[in-house]
């Protein structure tokens, strides 16, 4: 199963920007939380997850062809 993973702000350093998203092959279904952990993205770096333009959380299990965008935390004013 293949998915595309892109990130904004500081997350670009981990997965590339959305326009140049990283394609990832998943041998088995797993949650986004597990995927991000395996990629070494620290806890707390992802505040918002958009999957095919719909908001999801870290428990979401990606499906074939998903385009996932990761957004870091906002600065609070």
């Amino acid at each position: 199963m293949k998915i595309k993973l892109g990130g904004y702000g500081i997350l670009k350093n981990y997965v590339g920007p959305p326009e140049n998203a990283r394609e990832i092959e998943l041998p088995q279904a797993k949650s986004l939380k597990d995927i991000l952990q395996e990629m070494g993205i620290p806890d707390g770096m992802v505040m918002l997850i958009s999957v095919n333009d719909e908001q999801k959380n870290l428990d979401y299990v990606p499906q074939e062809g998903d385009e996932i965008k990761l957004v870091p935390p906002v600065s609070g004013g």
Partner: protein, 604 residues
């Protein structure tokens, strides 16, 4: 001069003299606008050692070259003066409509000098400038005053007003505008009060000349497209900055009970989601902004309905967490109270939290508080003490000085938990396990404020215990973020919607015809940073690296609970951070800019 109003309006409230001069081209070249103009003018014109609340202090109100243009976010204006909170350079940045209005009136900068002999307000309608009597507004709340002025002068006027806190010289009094936007930090509202100046009412109907309107229009279109396709835009439209409350608690960085903890057990009751369900009435945007992060809210308290913009994240942190006000009705009401009294919610929350802890520890008692039983989480005692502060009644007169001076008066070791740096209360991030964020607070030029370098995500990304490399990132942010305050633009499109920084020099060139690279802009920002440091050195009786130290709580007490429980900063790490920071800045071991650095920046 393209995009600039081209004029400096100077008003002397003592003599009534009003003068208009052309904007100096060298000032434009080296300092761009906004905070850059303010720092240079105040450094040059203020006599060292003057009383910030005396007639010799001056208030500079400065827009930027992009203010009022059709670039998204170009609605920012700077209010600056010698700060009564820090006794050094102070500024605060405000959104809303005022930045555009001052430009349309033909001015980039307003300099207010002297002291009126009675309550007054400044009336500016393009070229018509008057100092008018404000007796009918004096004593009124800030929200009420703005409404009265709108009724009297017309909706097309934009106002900057103070509430009772400003009139009574509370050192964390803010300036309010547009029923919910504030120049909140460093007590510039008290400087207005010290001048008997209740308000500034502005109306402008002139146009601005743009160097390359076609290019600016194209760039603006690109910027809007970029912003609209970002998935976080919806979050901003829904919740604004309040969307960070949940995340901040999950990271253990939410100041709670006067920074005893970084996790507030009631945070889910004051989150952006709860606001969305219970209090938000509509979105509110600053001039030309597609993000509309302002959330206009309604709450009922004691059979009365209150309308207020907020609470923003910082208010949720400093009143919600730090004073433990754990439900959205009380928090929204507390926000309204601060706005109407004209108190900065960040410092106001911190001061009340400090008083609550002093009471809890027996450092102050019923005798001191006139019977008010100060208790974390209690909105009634919060309100009573806040009103005492705003009117300088009883213990309120001591607390009105801010936590630094109040702790010196209360003694008994309370200075260790007076959460401030340089006299300014720390804003909404617990930082014992976030060295970059702590260093950002320690070294911020106006005192402990987050907006110069919001570095906590860097801590999380590279390791929260790591010290190495943190100073470098803090300095980068301290140069990038104030550029926005100089060009008169909001930074949120960049920091939250990932807009490329490269858009800004392009927009600046299209608007003004001035060709600056991004590096040139950052150099201007570094110049201002060093200039404000020189201001601090000039005003300090005993300058040294101690001025950059955090409160002892950060390195003597562990975080009490939550995800960062038992965290503590090590003193040797604090020194290591400072050593690295000074070295990278080209400052000596005591934090003074070296002659070589000043020469490089054209300051020597």
């Amino acid at each position: 001069m393209f995009a600039y109003g081209g004029k400096v309006l100077r008003i002397n409230l003592s003599t009534g003299q009003i003068t208009v001069k052309n904007l100096d081209e060298k000032l434009v070249r080296d300092y761009l606008g906004g905070r850059g103009f303010a720092a240079r003018i105040l450094y040059d014109e203020l006599k060292p050692g003057l009383d910030p609340l005396g007639p010799d202090n001056k208030i500079v109100v400065a827009s930027g070259p992009l203010s009022g243009l059709f670039v998204p976010g170009a609605g920012k204006i700077t209010f600056a003066a010698k700060s009564p909170a820090t006794n050094s350079y102070g500024d605060s940045n405000m959104g809303g409509m005022l930045a555009a209005e001052i430009k349309y009136a033909g001015y980039d900068v307003l300099i207010i000098e002297g002291k009126a002999n009675r309550p007054s307000y400044i009336y500016i309608n393009n070229d018509r400038v008057e100092i008018r009597e404000a007796g009918q507004y004096w004593g009124q709340g800030a929200i009420t005053t703005e409404k009265m002025l709108k009724d009297d002068l017309g909706d097309q006027f934009q106002m900057a007003v103070i509430g009772p806190a400003g009139e009574n010289l509370i050192k964390f009094a803010c300036i309010s505008h547009d029923f919910g936007r504030q120049a909140g930090r460093t007590g510039i509202g008290a400087v207005m009060g010290s001048k008997n100046l209740k308000a500034i009412a502005l109306r402008g109907s002139k146009s601005l000349k743009i160097a390359n309107p076609k290019l600016l229009k194209t760039l603006t279109g690109d910027i809007i497209t970029q912003c609209q396709k970002h998935p976080a835009l919806k979050l901003w439209l829904n919740q604004g900055t309040a969307s960070v409350t949940v995340w901040s608690n999950e990271q253990g960085s939410f100041p709670t009970r006067n920074f005893q903890s970084g996790y507030f057990e009631g945070y889910k009751n004051i989150s952006g989601d709860v606001m969305l369900k219970e209090t938000i009435v509509t979105n509110k945007a600053c001039f030309g902004c597609p993000m509309a992060c302002g959330k206009y809210a309604r709450t009922k308290k004691n059979n009365r309905t209150y309308y207020v913009e907020g609470p923003e994240y910082e208010t949720a942190a400093m009143i919600g967490g730090d004073c433990a006000i754990g439900n959205i009705t009380d928090l929204t009401y507390a926000n309204w109270l601060c706005d109407e009294l004209g108190i900065d919610t960040i410092s106001g929350g911190s001061v009340v939290a400090f008083a609550m802890e002093c009471y809890e520890k027996g450092i102050i008692t019923d005798k001191d508080t006139d019977g008010i039983k100060l208790k974390f989480g209690d909105i009634e005692s919060f309100e009573k003490i806040l009103r005492k502060i705003a009117y300088r009644e009883g213990i309120g007169a001591i607390l009105a000085e801010g936590v630094k001076i109040a702790s010196e008066k209360f003694g008994q070791g309370s200075d260790k938990f007076a959460m401030q740096v340089k006299g300014l209360e720390i804003s909404g991030y617990e930082s014992r396990k976030a060295p970059a964020m702590m260093l950002a607070y320690m070294t911020c030029d106006i005192g402990a404020h987050h907006n110069r370098a919001w570095a906590i995500t860097h801590d999380i990304a590279v390791g929260r215990d790591k010290i190495e490399g943190k100073a470098q990132r803090v300095i980068e942010l301290q140069h990038i973020r104030p550029v926005f305050d100089m060009i008169g633009c909001c930074r949120l499109q960049w920091v939250e919607l990932d807009l490329s920084l490269e858009y800004y020099p392009q927009a600046l060139a299209a608007a003004t015809g001035l060709n600056y690279s991004l590096d040139d802009l950052l150099k201007c920002s570094e110049r201002v940073w060093n200039l404000s440091r020189l201001f601090l050195i000039r005003e300090s009786k005993n300058f040294g690296r101690h001025v950059d130290y955090p409160p002892a709580r950060f390195y003597e007490e562990k975080v009490k609970n939550g995800p960062t429980r038992d965290s503590i900063a090590k003193k040797q790490d604090i020194d290591k951070l400072l050593d690295e920071y000074y070295r990278l800045r080209g400052w000596d071991e005591n934090g003074k800019p070296t002659p070589a650095k000043l020469k490089e920046l054209g300051l020597l």
